[in-house]
Symmetry: C2
Subunit: 323 residues, 2 copies
């Protein structure tokens, strides 16, 4: 029942010795998803304990090099490691032609299938689902077509309140029906509402990744209620003109997005290399949204399952690993 | 008068947390040359004190990802840093089409010119020269067209023996003529041979980079007398069948190449990740060629100028930096 994200890289376009470009690894129920794939991601996966072979899907937000250039090495390495399972890549338009062109020079004979799905960066759409997870695109405002992604746990099947099975003398068929959400009519004709018989085992969790983007109230609305929001914050608010010109956000704007979304916690990153200390950006964000932190390379943030909404989402999200 | 090489990466195709893929930075008289450019090279340049902007030319041995995938990020970063000077890239056939295709997706509007020169991997040719340096291709034997590179200092102009100027009463014109290699006739008709008046300030230095390749006696011959030879050694000699199948060398074969070339010193690298300890490969090489070392990431090897051939090349080459 894991739901956690590991920051593999969070620099902006110019990587430094201490900071790799964008890449986050998301573990949902031991299924691994990669969000963005800047240069060096394959090594960062290994460094932080995720086997590259375990990556199910890659979600690229946009075709800028600092979000993409690690994919070439990862694709090759998976071939050398003998992967057979298809690798799904979700990315904006041109990704397929770009990758096919690339492959013809480098990896014409991969032992696995590379399945590229181009996403519509103007629409909020369900683009991927498995048994427990849905992934939705979130239109963003950047210089090139860009999609954020919302990773949302599906509503789990309801659990039966075990103590009520003997009390009502429920049959196996009635138990199954109740788990599927149906009300139950007992042999004496009494109707027992489903809400009495069952409970939701946990509140579905979610993680939203919004980068790169200028401030977008619409995007914040689309990820409303997310437990953990990653929002880019390339600039300080004093440089908001520069942010607007380049299609980026300031730390203050990222915090406003978190506030508008009613997020549990906020991570900010993609800081311009002009700022020598991440703390100034975090401090700025906290003036508006106190539960803000820097997306620091190597950190793992965990979202614990909550039985119900009485526990605030902010308390369910915690930093569980720092190298 | 610097002539030194810094190892930026030396892993084989599967990089690890401790080892980056192939890339060497060569500094010849404060002109910087990059040989191969595996993923992460731009960061490795910074880590080891070479500004990416100072790279004059890039020499790619072959179009396998572990020798190339860092070029995409480097090209982008140089654009972001506002480079105006053209960047020359020397590489085997297909490099130009591959890079042009790549650029149309990522860096269509670079502020500098990318000049791609495709080299003939079957010929030993002078492909680049400046005031002090020549670069020659060395045909190699790999699974795809591959060129090694020989970096050779040009013969410097001869220096005049200052003490002879008053002794022979040389005029300024006579001094200039002597520096250009001519004999001098004094006013009394005496002929003074140039070899008496002048001396070679130093023996031209050279660095040869042979990777990836199966053992090639021809390649060893083409780099005969090189002060420092980097030769790939992907396998131990016990695995020489695997080496042959994959177009690679063993540590023993690399040592034999150094011996055949009469190299001053040997660096070996590109070790398969199957070997957990570089020392076993170095030990194997030393059984045949004692002046052998591992090409260890971050190491800088310096070749000091030698006044004449009485000092063995092996003594002029030394490790001057290890992080």
């Amino acid at each position: 029942m894991t739901f956690r994200v590991t920051i593999l890289g969070s620099s902006s376009a110019l990587p430094t010795v201490r900071k790799h470009p964008s890449a986050h690894a998301l573990n949902v129920h031991e299924q691994f998803f990669l969000i963005d794939c800047g240069e060096g991601t394959q090594t960062q996966l290994r460094r932080y304990g995720v086997s590259p072979l375990r990556v199910n899907c890659v979600f690229l937000t946009h075709l800028h090099g600092d979000h993409v250039f690690g994919l070439f090495g990862l694709i090759s390495t998976l071939g050398l490691l003998g992967r057979r399972t298809p690798l799904q890549v979700f990315a904006p338009h041109s990704a397929e032609a770009m990758l096919r062109s690339h492959l013809q020079y480098f990896d014409a004979e991969l032992p696995y299938e590379l399945q590229v799905t181009e996403v519509d960066t103007c629409k909020h759409r369900l683009i991927y689902e498995n048994k427990t997870l849905e992934v939705w695109t979130v239109p963003l405002r950047h210089r090139v077509p860009t999609a954020g992604y919302l990773f949302r746990e599906k509503t789990p099947p309801r659990n039966i309140r075990k103590e009520l099975i003997p009390a009502y003398g429920l049959s196996l068929a009635q138990i199954q029906a109740a788990k599927q959400g149906r009300d139950i009519t007992l042999s004496d004709g009494t109707l027992v509402p489903n809400a009495v018989l069952t409970y939701r085992p946990y509140v579905p969790r979610s993680y939203a990744y919004l980068s790169d983007t200028a401030y977008s109230a619409k995007a914040a609305g689309l990820v409303a209620g997310t437990d953990l929001l990653y929002h880019e914050a390339t600039f300080m608010d004093a440089d908001r003109r520069l942010a607007r010109q380049t299609g980026h956000s300031t730390a203050l704007q990222a915090a406003r997005a978190a506030l508008a979304a009613g997020a549990g916690r906020l991570l900010i990153g993609h800081f311009s290399s002009r700022y020598k200390d991440d703390a100034v950006l975090v401090d700025e964000a906290r003036t508006v949204f106190p539960a803000a932190d820097a997306a620091t390379e190597g950190d793992t943030w965990d979202i614990r399952p909550r039985a119900d909404d009485t526990m605030p989402a902010s308390e369910a999200v915690s930093l569980i690993g720092r190298p």
